[in-house]
């Protein structure tokens, strides 16, 4: 497993994982361990869940949605690690 080098990345990783788990657990209890290598698009996310993820990250990371949208290039996101790198 890749360990994030700096503290900021670790915090972002935790917040991203928390947000994803909150969304996945809204419909049913899911026991899942997320790692940096977890593929974001294999988690049963649809476009609605994705925007909810953005909204949760806006709140958790205290970044305005428009800035968040500009930071993240979804075409280049495969794993949680990619998301964290773009968010840092």
């Amino acid at each position: 497993m890749l360990i994030f080098k700096n503290k900021k990345e670790k915090i972002i990783f935790k917040e991203v994982c928390d947000a994803i788990l909150e969304i996945l657990n809204e419909e049913r209890d899911i026991k899942i361990v997320l790692t940096p290598k977890t593929r974001v698009f294999s988690l049963g996310m649809n476009s609605m869940k994705f925007i909810n993820l953005f909204l949760k990250l806006e709140h958790k990371l205290n970044i305005d949605l428009d800035l968040l949208v500009n930071k993240i290039n979804l075409q280049k996101v495969e794993t949680i690690q990619d998301l964290v790198k773009q968010l840092k």
């Binding site: 476009s47 609605m48 953005f54 949208v69």
Partner: protein, 261 residues
């Protein structure tokens, strides 16, 4: 309690609107539901039906209807316009007042429907109560959310060169989750700023049900929550318009029923 389906002609526009009435034995209130648009409309349907039935059991008649070019009303989605929506809402309010012989109406709006309810109450003096469930408040932000969803959809489906804009019969449209919306409508939504509308209201009861602390902050910053006719309630419900229709909304139904008594 009785239910009735009606197709009613909006004479000002000469097209038919679909209406579903939930008739109470006694009309303590008559409440008109104002729908959200795009795919949010479908997702709130279950909640609206559950709420309507509970309301009518308690002597509140409910009027649900589809705006022109949405749901079961006449017209195709690309013909959707705010001019028609405003005409439809006014028409349904007038019809309800005549049919149920009442002077005042309650409007219950969800998402964009909530913002439309505020707009209508700016121009009419027969709106007694507004129940606003997750109003959009800021049109630009709503569009940003919808466009971000579109990006996510393309990514999820590995569409690398998507078509987002269309031209059809000399008019331009933007694709929102499969709904082609005219540029004029998009511009109208972008200009939507309902905070100003609530700020200017001096009378009537306004209940805002939301689970967004950011929204509460926005209303606090604009001094809306200091007004004695505005009640804001953070509800622990899941965002039912953004999740599946099967989401349990019992608590929200109960909350709305409490607001009516």
């Amino acid at each position: 309690m009785k239910e009735e389906i009606v197709f009613l002609n909006n004479k000002a526009k000469n097209y038919k609107l679909f209406m579903h009435l939930y008739l109470a034995e006694r009309n303590d209130t008559v409440c008109i539901f104002l729908n959200p648009i795009l795919d949010e409309k479908k997702r709130v349907q279950r909640f609206q039906i559950d709420l309507s039935r509970e309301m009518s059991k308690r002597n509140n008649t409910v009027v649900r209807f589809d705006y022109y070019a949405t749901g079961d009303s006449e017209g195709e989605v690309y013909q959707f316009s705010f001019e028609n929506i405003m005409s439809d809402i006014n028409f349904i309010i007038d019809y309800s007042k005549r049919r149920f012989r009442i002077k005042l109406i309650t409007l219950l709006g969800i998402r964009l429907g909530a913002d439309l309810a505020m707009k209508i109450s700016d121009i009419r003096n027969d709106i007694q109560k507004l129940i606003l469930i997750e109003p959009i408040l800021d049109g630009k932000r709503y569009l940003l959310e919808q466009r971000t969803r579109r990006k996510a959809f393309f990514r999820l489906n590995n569409i690398t060169n998507p078509i987002e804009f269309y031209k059809f019969k000399e008019k331009s449209y933007e694709d929102f989750q499969g709904f082609l919306i005219q540029f004029e409508v998009v511009a109208y939504i972008a200009e939507l700023n309902s905070i100003a509308s609530i700020t200017n209201k001096s009378d009537g009861d306004i209940y805002i049900l939301s689970n967004s602390s950011a929204k509460k902050q926005m209303l606090t910053n604009n001094k809306v929550l200091q007004k004695n006719n505005v009640l804001f309630s953070l509800e622990k419900h899941s965002d039912f318009w953004s999740s599946l229709e099967m989401t349990d909304t019992t608590n929200l139904v109960r909350k709305v029923l409490n607001l009516l008594t």
